[in-house]
Amino acid sequence: MILTNIDSIPGSTIVQHFGLVQGSTIRAKHFGRDFAAGLKNIVGGELKGYTELLQESRAEATQRMVAQATELGANAIINVRFTTSSVAQGASEILAYGTAVLVQN
């Protein structure tokens, strides 16, 4: 599966469009990490626990999007976008979406 966030797969021709595919996940921060982050808040800077948490969630969302595209018979997703929105206190939704396509070299 090739992913790009531009309108094409360079070097390949798009032969079929399958429309929008998406994957999302809603994650809550867990207590241990929240506590460590609370301490880290005093001195500021990067909160590594949260960075990892969001990276994992984004990978999960991407994977779900890819699974949806595979089911449709696509071999690439173009115009991939990521969004994050806070749905509740301490929980955020991560969404990945794009257009599933079939490409040929």
Binding site: I2, L3, T4, N5, I6, D7, I9, P10, G11, K29, D34, A37, K40, N41, I42, V43, G44, G45, E46, L47, Y50, T51, L54, Q55, R58, V80, R81, F82, T83, T84, S85, S86, Q89, G90, S92
Partner: protein
């Protein structure tokens, strides 16, 4: 005497936290900026482009997504300073440097996720607040995400007619 102790503790603890925030925070910031500048120099010849076009004289061999993200939070000292700025309005410089660091770090991580790429096109930056409290208790915690399409060139393309 006990009253005095409690008063001292009530006043002393926030001051201690603010002082710790200022000292450790500014040290980390200095170190972080040094690391950012060093790594940016390494990627100087591979800029991240926001446009969707790339060097048309090159043939693309491979294209993949490059993603980099970072979560940062403001320290207690900067938060304390910002409270005063918010009284009078105006630019909050203490927050600006933090977000600047985060953005540059996210961009660098994006490039480092695909270090062999020759070009990064259609770069997008997204900032989202992930504080779990709102209002007075909200400590500025933001996530900065950078993503782009990383291209690897196969070499000069056949001369276009």
């Amino acid at each position: 005497m006990a009253d005095f102790l409690i008063f001292g503790l009530q006043l002393g603890l926030p001051i201690l936290l603010i002082a710790a925030g200022w000292y450790v925070g500014s040290q980390t910031e200095k170190k972080h900026y040094a690391s950012i500048k060093e790594r940016e120099r390494r990627f100087l010849h591979k800029p991240a482009l926001t446009s969707k076009q790339w060097d048309s004289s090159m043939m693309v061999r491979e294209s993949t997504m490059a993603v980099g993200s970072v979560v940062v939070s403001i320290d207690h000292f900067k938060r304390f300073v910002s409270v005063f700025t918010m009284l009078f309005g105006g630019e909050i410089h203490s927050y600006a440097s933090l977000i600047d660091r985060a953005r540059r770090e996210a961009l660098l991580r994006m490039k480092e996720s695909q270090p062999d790429a020759d070009s990064y096109v259609n770069t997008r930056l997204v900032t989202s607040s992930i504080s779990n409290a709102s209002g007075r208790d909200a400590i500025g915690t933001v996530e900065v995400l950078a993503y782009a399409t990383a291209l690897k060139f196969a070499g000069p393309s056949v001369a276009s007619e």
